[in-house]
Amino acid sequence: MNPFAATVWHVMRKDLLIEVRSREILYTTLFFAVSCVLVFAFGFVREGRAVEDAAAGILWIAIAFSGTLALGRAFERERHNETLRALMLAPVERPAIYLGKLLGVLALLGAVQLVVVPLVAVMFQARLFAHPLLMLGLLAAGTTGFAAVGTLFAAMLVRARSRDVLLPVLLYPITIPVIIAGVRGTAALLQAEVDLPMARAWLSMLVFFDVVFITLALWTFEPVMTE
């Protein structure tokens, strides 16, 4: 394995190992996402019928909100014992640290989605599994774009006093295009007459956002982390 990939792997593995031990982020994020879906289900489902397009919006709201929680906690851990400084001091390429952290967050959000997506499908009678590959693509690309920006901002804010307030304030305006693309792409798959070309178009848009956001994050991670 080349040194860059090895660093990405070691950082991701370490984050997942810590999470397996503590299960802190997984449980809190999952609880938050499930609560979110249940509360919306009480509001948007009447006599067993959900409001049109509500499922797509609620699914992505649950992903975005729980993702914000996971991002904040993932870096709070690194701040607690200043281990982020230890990572910055290691003789590795700093963008590899960013990618390792990003993959760790994505793995956690993937685990949350394993529960949340079927829950939304059941509560809103949404056919989320009718086109599984396209749905999987939208979820993967949307979550990656959201987490790519979030990981960079969470790392930048790790030493800021009001980081818990600042993270969503900075993150949501930048990731609005990702969330809109995710919602519209999912809605195209859930409507009465499934619009596959539209869903593919939104998926392409998400992939484009991912490429842009990850490239920018890899490029800026080292300067923004230099004190």
Partner: protein, 243 residues
């Protein structure tokens, strides 16, 4: 890459309007143990952070032999070991997992043997697989020291390394510092434990208000010389306020 000296030339570091370091100049050579003394908030941790490349100076220059932090980057960081005031270890992981993680990041040769030896030196063999969160401060401190030295760095920067150590731990750490000097490492120790470090330090520097001064060698105990070095500066700092 390697180096045998570290040179600070007129280094200043500001945090907003606060000057943590002001025109600091000094040089350390391989095979030297240097004590960095000073009251709380004097800038000792900032100086160590600048020396470790974690902080960039606002002005001035830090040279590692012929290299600078900007010119050598990761290759230079591979030769620096820092024990911070916070311990840089993951409490959820065990000592062996913590050390193995850093051994892999630093790409040390034969990581299994190095980690095993480090755990033995830290006296944590019996608890090598227990989570660090259940350890006492002294045990964590010993682990953190081994983490800082795992990759055999040339420049060893230790911030309050005696914190939480019992008598045996203190004696072992002093022996370790002496061994590092014999191995021609550059060791800088920021501490308030003057009596503890006195037998092993070659030179002592005092930081006060971000400014650095050498404590003159002499037959008097280090604490007396430190107090004498601090007095004129404390008086100078008070004079404008009184006038």
């Amino acid at each position: 890459m390697d180096f045998t000296s570290v040179t600070f030339t007129d280094v200043s570091r500001h945090f907003g309007r606060r000057r943590a370091l002001s025109g600091v100049s000094f040089r350390c050579e391989a095979g030297e143990v240097v004590a960095l003394l000073g009251p709380n908030g004097a800038g000792k941790s900032t100086l160590l952070a600048v020396a470790s490349t974690l902080l960039e100076p606002t002005s001035g220059r830090v040279q590692y032999g012929e290299h600078t932090a900007r010119s050598a980057r990761a290759r230079l960081r591979a030769r620096i070991g820092l024990l911070g005031h916070e311990l840089f270890v993951y409490p959820e992981l065990s000592p062996s997992e913590n050390l193995m993680f850093f051994a892999r990041l630093y790409r040390v040769e034969d990581p299994d043997a190095r980690v095993g030896a480090a755990i033995d030196r830290a006296g944590l063999t019996a608890r090598r697989d227990d989570p660090v969160s259940g350890f006492s401060r002294g045990m964590r401190q010993r682990l953190a020291l081994e983490r800082a030295l795992l990759h055999d760095p040339r420049l060893v920067l230790l911030d309050e390394p005696f914190t939480g150590l019992d008598d045996a731990g203190t004696v072992a750490l002093r022996a370790r510092l002496a061994a590092l000097r014999d191995a021609r490492r550059i060791v800088v120790v920021a501490t308030h434990d003057l009596e503890t470090v006195e037998p092993i330090v070659d030179r002592a520097l005092v930081l006060q208000g971000g400014k650095l001064a050498l404590i003159a060698p002499g037959p008097d105990p280090l604490r007396d010389r430190y107090r004498r070095a601090c007095e004129p500066r404390a008086q100078a700092a008070q004079a404008p306020r009184e006038s």
